[in-house]
Symmetry: C2
Subunit: 564 residues, 2 copies
Amino acid sequence: MDPQEILSLCKRRGFLWPAYDIYGGVAGLYDYGPLGAALKNNIEDHWRQLFVLEEGFLEIACPVVAPEPVFKASGHLDAFSDIYVECTKCGETYRADHLAAGLHENPATLKEAELGKLLRDNGVVCEACKGELTAPRRFNLMFKTSIGAGKAKTGYLRPETAQGMFVNFSQLYRHGREKLPVGVVQLGKAFRNEISPRQGLLRLREFHLMEAELFVHPEQKTWPRFKDVKHQKVPLVPNAAEPVTISLGDAVSKKIIANETLAYFMWTTWKYAVDIGMDPKRMRFRQHLKDEMAHYASDCWDLESELSIGWTELVGVADRGSYDLQSHIDHSQADLTAFERFDEPKEVEQEVLRPKFDALGKLFKGDTKKIADELAKQSPSSARGKKEISVTVDGKQVKVPSSCYEIIVKKEKVSGRKLVPHVIEPSYGVDRMLYAVLEHSYDKKDDYVVLRLKGMVAPIKAGVFPLMARDGLDDIASEICSALAKAGLAAYYDDGGSIGRRYARMDEVGTPCCVTVDYDTKADGTVTVRDRDTTQQIRVKKENAAKAVALMVNNGGLESLKGL
Amino acid sequence: MDPQEILSLCKRRGFLWPAYDIYGGVAGLYDYGPLGAALKNNIEDHWRQLFVLEEGFLEIACPVVAPEPVFKASGHLDAFSDIYVECTKCGETYRADHLAAGLHENPATLKEAELGKLLRDNGVVCEACKGELTAPRRFNLMFKTSIGAGKAKTGYLRPETAQGMFVNFSQLYRHGREKLPVGVVQLGKAFRNEISPRQGLLRLREFHLMEAELFVHPEQKTWPRFKDVKHQKVPLVPNAAEPVTISLGDAVSKKIIANETLAYFMWTTWKYAVDIGMDPKRMRFRQHLKDEMAHYASDCWDLESELSIGWTELVGVADRGSYDLQSHIDHSQADLTAFERFDEPKEVEQEVLRPKFDALGKLFKGDTKKIADELAKQSPSSARGKKEISVTVDGKQVKVPSSCYEIIVKKEKVSGRKLVPHVIEPSYGVDRMLYAVLEHSYDKKDDYVVLRLKGMVAPIKAGVFPLMARDGLDDIASEICSALAKAGLAAYYDDGGSIGRRYARMDEVGTPCCVTVDYDTKADGTVTVRDRDTTQQIRVKKENAAKAVALMVNNGGLESLKGL
């Protein structure tokens, strides 16, 4: 199938189109038109229904602009980059590893100098004008900006929504009443200042994510509801074995998938993708290769979908360990831990910092008590071997020399311990899923296109047609449209052209059913409801039109309308 | 009422809090926590229901990053700025006009030099450290970034969502099948790099808008459904008369409000605000003062709400004339017009550019035909008196001297005319509306806080409590939670503390009702439903719990549950 066909349909019928077209456009930026925005809203709403309402995750919404320290801690400032070359003649930019495709077995692993040599040795020039290329340079893929006037703060547009959830862990843990697991989600825009985006919706500079972060006890990765799904079979492509279609229960017990929680959310992901209309025969989970996985991740699976350009990653489901929280703890000194209460208090030997009040008193006079309190909270390991440590008193940093405290071992009854939770992260690319849904729904016979969208995601739930735009048929059709709208069902009124042409217009954009008002409606008060997929029709009372459309949207089929 | 009380509730209970707190925060950036994000979603969803489903506006979703030419045309690049001063000692920045408050009757109208003199003459120094201030400088309030590597394009984060709709007018006009009026909406983030934001949710650097652009025929600003609302009375503060509470019909006929369309959408705005829970006694429409209104606007009204800090603008409803489209036409040369078909063709005299083929042929040889075709499309008025005009042929600009064409008058039968639509724009600040809803819902007796949120916007629709977390009561409560979730109703399970305390926790966050499972539930299968506002209770069958909660959410009250 030709992806151009879909993109042309998308543009013509108002799903999406390149943004800022009247000013020449910007590669990697797309607008969602009226049908695309509705489709996207529906895709996101169903995800909310699943994760927030049914699984109980907490939804938050953070700004997309974030200050630099967040991305220093997350690693994006140092490592979120690609290498590019620029044409010295026409200024066109290229990803160096893309130009080196075919010249090396894995050009993405090469450094700037190696790539430069490879391109030079192979005489690679500008694809557009054959001009000479610059030496490869590294480019950070975050959009940079400054916050405020004067001595501005450096800020970046977030490359993912996840960091907003990590930095807020304490708030969220408290909100969840200090219990693990606590699940959090965020839906929203993310940004990646691609060097040279050329793949339509699959590689955008501004895109939409739906991300879930499940904070769990590091040693408790079983999942109570796993028993309900462990018989479900999914096709897996493990990184160290042959592809296999296997039940999730077996995959966990054979250690193909690292733990139950990961497997449970792989199933949630699978189910969600099928719900919104992807074809399960064109889906699989591929495990990240060992060298592809982040060093801290203990396991990671991508939901891939077979598209016209090949197997494409849509969702990543990863066990990220404690990496993210630990890194923010290290960089911010904030306490992003959970507290595990023991069944009964334990006696433990513990090192603590003991303030020496004499020495403190001489140096700090009236602040002695406050400083001593702060000292007692410091971790002995961070003080060991240092000449002084810093504490914050009344908002000010105070340096306390080591003569003012000692490290002692204390026996204590403790009721529990602090721990840094692990994170299981399902991360969904909305634009890619939307595109996959379009490809998997696209059905063409001769020149007749039917988009077989699931009713739940279809942008228009029903076309409403008066057979003729006169004799009051148009008024009845308008009333039905209003009734549908009141019931939250998007309707499209159309009185132009033959009924056949009107059906075709709705089929092409995936509308699951059409309601037609004809002269019988005036006689007996019934309207026809036509099913997009069977093209069969049934008559229902006009006052039941909204009920009928709601049933069709929930995949009831015409059967379910009998008696309405 | 003390706004700190609300902000403290918001933070404690997870509505919202300052963003990036663990890294010291960034002024003007807030996170929506689990309750705030849900409240915001509900506020937006109801707006969509009203504008998209019921009024038939088309929703689109554009990127927030946009290239510079968009904002050159919109005027933001030149005029979207404030004047600031910086402390030479501590680096703190201030809006110069804010520092000059009280020293001049309207400091916002002053230029840099005037403000500098005023501050100097009055010995104004840094509020934080008494340091000396720099001279005032102008600061553009758009966040700036660059798009792409190498020779990057300058981009900005959009300061409003409106431009995305203007630049897409042609696409949207076609999508609406080339008829006026066509209404478009966009919901999403917008950005304003404030110099020194200090007003919580009322002045954010990153905020949320819901904007509608209604493109209308310039001479047709009546509105068919105005007849349904013209008897509705609203309090108006006109810019040239005394405040008055008057019907919209009278306001239009007395020319207080410029036209029916504007008045109709003022009513839509009023109704929406009341729907989501604002207090109509603390609302009014204030007309922009003559010098406050944009020069191109023919009328503009703000919906204002009385908050603890005084009357505050939440929504602007403006007739912006043809300014926006005309400006993009001028800057992009794109054809952003609508076509008005005459009832029957008219004979008109029209000036046209006629190419002189002899002269053209000598200069342009083989390109003559192409250039002549382009010349014929040019507007005679733009060519008059010029020595040459530019046309674009095969993507290249060609300069054609005036000897190659003449301006003649031609009689023609024309079937219609092109016109630049006018724009009626209702623009809603989501964060401000959310804050106003919180203030207007806040009810405190002694120390007991009840947030009287409308069920429709409440983040949690029902608390679900087992009287005791044992004897199977907890299992029944969990089942009820699941049933509510499946029905799309956010439920909160709580088995901690006394029932009274659990009610209090739900009252404080605006949950309209609570469902309690007690020992009678095991005996007769009924549960209690408690109404937040009356604190009365009624028993319903446990399998009807979702139905009961849905009725309570739609403001049915306990009366409506009888018989369930």
